[in-house]
């Protein structure tokens, strides 16, 4: 029994990281209706920036801040073409962008460590918290961050800002003739989402004490999408729930793997088949997810 609790702890850390990641996507999709299928790019941008700077000697706190700022900046820049493009084109553009980021990370070894990735960067309070307790500390660190993000986002959701975004999602022209600068709101939403994604990326790096291009496949973005839709688009609490459910499923089934008479590879493929099926079934029969409201659906 002793082994279970630390394991649950690590699962919860991952739930928290994905919750943060998906909360960022929820701002972009749920609030602003932007189709971002390249969300993982910002995880990469944040984590790599932090690690590269820190490995060059920049203090960790500053590295983190610069990483967040860079991710936000790139996100804001990406909205310039984004707001002009139709949703499907934006989807292709964003996923192409995230793949290019991954390619750069993979190939520009002089900057990013290439396929081997980066390690040896500082972790928050790394010198202070003893190694055996570190995961516990990180669990708290991640979840406090998630909580703060959640509260801030909830405030936004219920605020006039949130109201404007709801109107933009439904009918941009009406928002415009009522005096709302639609492009600026979309940019803000995208920026916010990118910053959250980059924060999640950094947390992931702190957890593994390593980062590499293999962490930034499009599948990660797909996970975020499934989490957001499962929980209920535009519903922050739903996003947290979705993260718990999805990651709970993925971790829980990993537990089962040795008990099942299939190779690990096949079993893991089977799990993913269920994940794909989950998304399909959700979209067909319950697009509003667990906590979403059907009448507020904007699909």
């Amino acid at each position: 029994m002793e082994g279970i609790f630390p394991y649950i702890g690590t699962v919860l850390i991952m739930v928290g990281i994905y919750a943060l990641f998906a909360l960022g996507l929820n701002v972009q999709w749920g609030f602003a209706g932007l189709i971002n299928i390249g969300h993982v790019a910002f995880m990469a941008i944040g984590a790599y920036t932090m690690a590269i700077l820190n490995l060059q000697g920049v203090p960790l706190a500053l590295s983190i801040l610069i990483g967040l700022a860079l991710a936000g900046g790139v996100g804001a820049l990406l909205t310039l073409p984004a707001i002009r493009l139709k949703a499907d084109y934006l989807a292709i553009l964003t996923v192409g962008f995230s793949e290019i980021v991954r390619y750069v990370a993979l190939n520009e070894g002089w900057l990013t460590g290439g396929a081997q990735g980066l390690f040896g960067f500082d972790i928050p309070l790394g010198g202070v918290v003893p190694a055996e307790q570190y995961n516990l500390f990180l669990l708290g660190f991640v979840w406090v961050t998630v909580l703060i993000a959640f509260i801030l986002l909830q405030r936004l959701a219920k605020s006039p800002w949130g109201r404007v975004l709801k109107s933009i999602r439904e009918d941009e022209d009406v928002a415009r003739v009522l005096g709302k600068n639609v492009s600026r709101y979309k940019m803000q939403a995208f920026l916010l989402g990118s910053v959250l994604a980059s924060l999640a990326g950094m947390m992931l790096a702190f957890y593994h004490q390593y980062l590499g291009p293999g962490y930034y496949y499009p599948m990660e973005t797909f996970y975020a999408w499934i989490i957001v839709i499962l929980g209920g688009s535009a519903n922050n609490l739903g996003t947290l729930l979705g993260a718990l459910l999805l990651w709970g499923f993925l971790s829980g089934t990993r537990f089962l793997s040795p008990l099942v008479p299939l190779s690990a590879y096949t079993f893991s493929a089977l799990r993913m088949i269920l994940v794909g099926l989950l998304l399909i079934v959700l979209m067909l029969y319950r697009p509003q997810g667990v906590l979403g409201k059907k009448k507020e659906l904007t699909f």
Partner: protein, 260 residues
Amino acid sequence: MNNGCDIAGPALSVQDVTKTFGALRAVDSCCLDVTAGVIAGLIGPNGAGKTTLFNIMSGLLAPDSGKIFMNGQEVTHLPAHKRAGLGVGRTFQISRSLRKLQVLDNLKLAAQSQLGERIQNVWFQPGAVRKQERMIEEKAMEVLRFLNLYELKDEYAGNLSGGQKKLLEIGRMLMLEPELILMDEPLAGVNPALGEEINAHLRALKGKGLTMLVIEHNVKHVMTVCDVVYVMNQGKIIAQGAPEAIRNDERVIEAYLGAR
């Protein structure tokens, strides 16, 4: 009867505006001047280009050439959302109430200069935001009471009847407090009783000093409410003047008959 192309100080001045879509000249060198404080009507057969002209005037569409002035200021290339700040309101032909927002929220949205629409205020000045929200909500409820929609305030706008949605559009204008309103068929699809009510609202708005340009198909309403009428056909303004004069104008009659 002048040509309408004066560079005066009217509330709204449209000068030589043209818009082409491929082979179609939707708006053809249009000139329009609406003096402050009047209700002007814009009539014409279907497909004459009225809504396109409206889209250009409200900034949702850019003209190929020509200029637009509002209260003396050139707004031709001003983005739509900035025109609201100048005091321009716009309603839509098929009412575009935000169906997934509640009625009260629909109205609150229209208030201008909301502190709470800025992220930093939401997070760092919650008290000020709350205070302003309360004021906006009070005003919105007043407007709802005035329009007899108060009981529906928490209803999703998508559940309203057609006539109620039209009233909602007017309600948004009341919240916006514009000086100039572009109204695209405010009476379309509305029963006669409600139509009278809406007309009364329009007259009341005029009484407050607002200027209105109204697209309308219902000739009777146009005659009773409008001070001056413009007639548009195939993208051009073919006639303008007082309602009775227009009603008897041969070109106008021909335009409507020809369009059938």
